[in-house]
Each structure stands twice: as C-alpha cells, then as structure tokens.
C-alpha cells in the first residue's frame, strides 16, 4: 500500500526516521549506511489536508491541484525533519519551533508550505546565483 514503505523497508511509525538510526533495510544494515530519501516518494497527497496557504498558492498559479508539490514530502536528514529543495539540490531543515503533526500527510502539507515560502524569498540561494550568473 502506498505510503507504507520506502527503499526496501517498511515504515512502521511516522517518527521512525527521527527516532531510529536510519538502518532499516537488510542492505542498509549490511553496509552500515542509510540509503536514499527517507520517505515514500510514491505517496500521493490527501487533498482534505490542504493548508490555507497552499490553497492560495494554487489559486495564484491558476492550478486546480498541488501540481509539482505533489512530489514534495517531509523527509528526514540525520534524524531531523527536513525538506529537499530541488533548486539548491540540498535539504532544508525544519526548525524545532515548528511542531510536527502525528501523520505523514499533514507533515507533507507543512513541508510544501515551508518550501514555497523559502523558494520565493529573497534569502533563497537562487537569488544570489541569479544575480551572479544571469545572462539575459
């Protein structure tokens, strides 16, 4: 069932990647390293859990659904909740001050909202890159 497995190991708890050591599958235990993204990339969003911000974003863009954000999930970097930002090819961590809900779907919605706010802000690294290398 979608949302219950990732990279060869079962997801038994929503906090599994915060509390565990990240070595879940047989292969991970064999090599002593965690492999890949720490969430189910195939999990499709539950639209009943949209946040007001995301509804406004969809309306602004003229989209009827989350569009590219359907692929954005709350991931986990070194035991910390984080979101992968494709524009900087790196993880952006969720600060401790933001409370996490008890289910992955709500966490994914928070991840989408945080990512949009970060990508569209002046402090995003892409702004500096653009100023330095923009050709036209």
């Amino acid at each position: 069932m979608a949302g219950t497995s990732y990279k060869g190991s079962e997801i038994e708890s929503v906090d599994q990647f915060i509390e565990g050591d990240g070595l879940d599958s047989a292969r991970e235990k064999e090599i002593g390293q965690h492999i890949g993204y720490r969430y189910d990339v195939n999990l499709v969003p539950d639209y009943t859990r949209l946040t007001p911000f995301l509804k406004s974003y969809m309306e602004t863009m003229g989209w009827d659904d989350l569009n590219w954000l359907e692929d954005v999930h709350m991931g986990y970097e070194e035991g910390n909740p984080a979101v992968f930002d494709r524009n900087i090819n790196g993880w952006v961590r969720v600060p401790d001050s933001i409370a996490l809900s008890d289910n992955q779907q709500d966490r994914d919605m928070v991840a989408r909202e945080l990512l949009i706010k970060f990508q569209m802000s002046e402090r995003h690294p892409l702004v500096q890159l653009r100023q330095a290398y923009m050709k036209f």
Binding site: V44, N67, D71, W91, V92
Partner: protein, 281 residues
C-alpha cells in the same frame, strides 16, 4: 574476521565507513518567512490582461523574446497564432502565465518551464516539455517521442497518442496520455506518475528506479525490473481526480487500470555482467 564488526572489517580491508548522508547545507526554514507565491524576479502579471501575437513572419527567438516582453508589461494571458510548427517555442518561462498556442509546435516545445499553464491546440514534436519543473501543459492532439523527457514536476497532458520513450528519465511530475504510448515508455523513470489511458508498447518501465505507471489498456511487454502492483484506494482516488481534471476519465472508471512499479532489483550495485543481470531479471 568473523568476530569483527562491520566497521572493523571495512577498516582492515582499507576501506572507510564514512557516513554519506547527502549534501547537507545546514539551511533552516524561517518560521516567519514572508508569504510570497512567485519568485522574487518573476514579472507581475494579470491573468485577465490578454494579448495575441501572430507568429507567422517571426523566428523562434523573436517569438520567445516577444513573450518575455509581454510578461514584463503585465500580460498574464498570451495567445500565439500561426506557430507553424516552429521548434523551441515557449521555453524557459519561470513564472505564472496562461500561454495558448493556436496550431502545432515542433521539437522541444515549452521545455524548461517552471509555472505556466500552456494549451496547445495542435500537435507537438519530440521532447515536448522536457525538463519541465512546474505548471500544466495540455496538448489537444498527438505528440512525438520522448514526451516529457526528464520532467521534474507539473502536469503534462496529451489528449491523443504519443511516441516512444515517453517520460524517459522522469524525476517527478505527472504525465497523462489520453491515447496510446510507444515502446520504452517510462525508461529509467526515477519518480513521478505516468498515466496512459490506452495501450503501452513493449518494454514499459524498463530499468525504472521508482515512480508509478498506470495503464488503462494493454501492455505489450514490461521492461527489465518493471513489475505489476496492487491498485490501492488512494491510487483510485488520485487517478479519478486527476483524469477528471483534464476530461480524460473513462466512462467505466479507473478500476481497469494496471499499476506498474519498480521491482527494486536494480537499486544496489552488484558484480553481475549485464547479460547475467538480464537473465536473472
């Protein structure tokens, strides 16, 4: 050696056990970040401000430059008439926009886009919307090969049929085909969703690493490491919503769709020769 831990064995063999946990940059979200919906450099456009461009006597560069100039003027809906199958039209648009092409486009149409909603009333050539990041692209007729090559996000929809290698190397997003798709569709797919309402050619999902393929018709053959999976209620709900959005929901619903995923046998390196691997898989 038997009594040694994995770390000790690796060290004795001259290997390190350095943790490779990704390219962390220790960047944190700001809880009080301003609520912007578009990139800081994106032009302010109004969807209600509409204009038309006759591309009959224009070159590709002139048309693309004209689109950018109109966006800077605040036009949020742009209609391009007489595109005459030109290649590379509508590429590199990185903000919200309604872009309508009245006619057919050539190769690499609307590639590298991040946000716009594009409607194409005719056909498109090879590699339509390659490397698309976000937005929606709707093609009313047929599309060529490598449709949505390396797409990373957004909805790419063709109401007709498409050629071979659809969604090759796709890394996210959704590709929807109203008709049939050719051979090697979903080749080396890494993420995202592909929905084909009609039939799929041979070697579907060959060497796919992740992602999901839904096929409404017949599959000529599955590729290496592509395996059937159970269609869940979440899949059905998503398929129904997405296909309804583009007017492609079959009368009989989505229950007949087959779900194809990665068999996950290609995730780890091994010492097998390619021929040995093929025999095993």
């Amino acid at each position: 050696m038997a009594g040694l831990s994995h770390e000790e064995r690796a060290r004795d063999m001259g290997l390190t056990t350095e943790q490779l946990t990704g390219r962390t940059q220790q960047v944190f979200f700001e809880p009080e970040e301003a609520e912007n919906f578009t990139y800081p450099w994106a032009p302010e456009v109004d969807f209600n401000k509409r204009t038309e461009v006759d591309a009959d006597a224009m070159t590709t560069t002139e048309v693309n430059s004209k689109i950018r100039a109109l966006m800077k003027e605040g036009h949020g809906s742009i209609v391009i008439r007489n595109p005459r199958g030109m290649h590379g039209l509508g590429v590199g648009i990185l903000s919200r926009l309604n872009l309508i092409f009245e006619g057919s486009l050539g190769y690499f149409a609307v590639g590298l886009i991040d946000g716009p909603n594009v409607r194409i009333s005719g056909r498109v050539g090879w590699s339509c919307a390659e490397n698309m990041m976000a937005g929606t692209v709707l093609i009313e007729k047929n599309a060529g090969s490598t449709f949505g090559a390396a797409i990373r996000g957004g909805d790419l929809v063709c109401r007709g049929s498409v050629g071979s290698r659809t969604g090759i190397d796709m890394k996210g997003g959704t590709i929807i085909v109203g008709g049939d798709t050719g051979m090697l569709s979903g080749f080396m797919m890494q993420r995202g969703r592909m929905v084909v309402c009609g039939n799929a050619g041979k070697d579907l999902g060959d060497s796919m690493y992740d992602g999901t393929i839904y096929i409404g018709g017949e599959i000529k053959s599955l590729g290496v490491d592509a395996v059937p999976a159970e269609l869940t209620d979440l899949d059905r709900a998503w398929l129904t919503r997405k296909l309804t959005l583009y007017g492609l929901l079959p009368e009989q619903g989505v229950d007949r769709f087959q779900k194809i995923v990665a068999g996950k046998q290609l995730w780890n390196y091994d010492n097998l020769e390619p021929l040995e691997k093929k025999l095993i898989l």
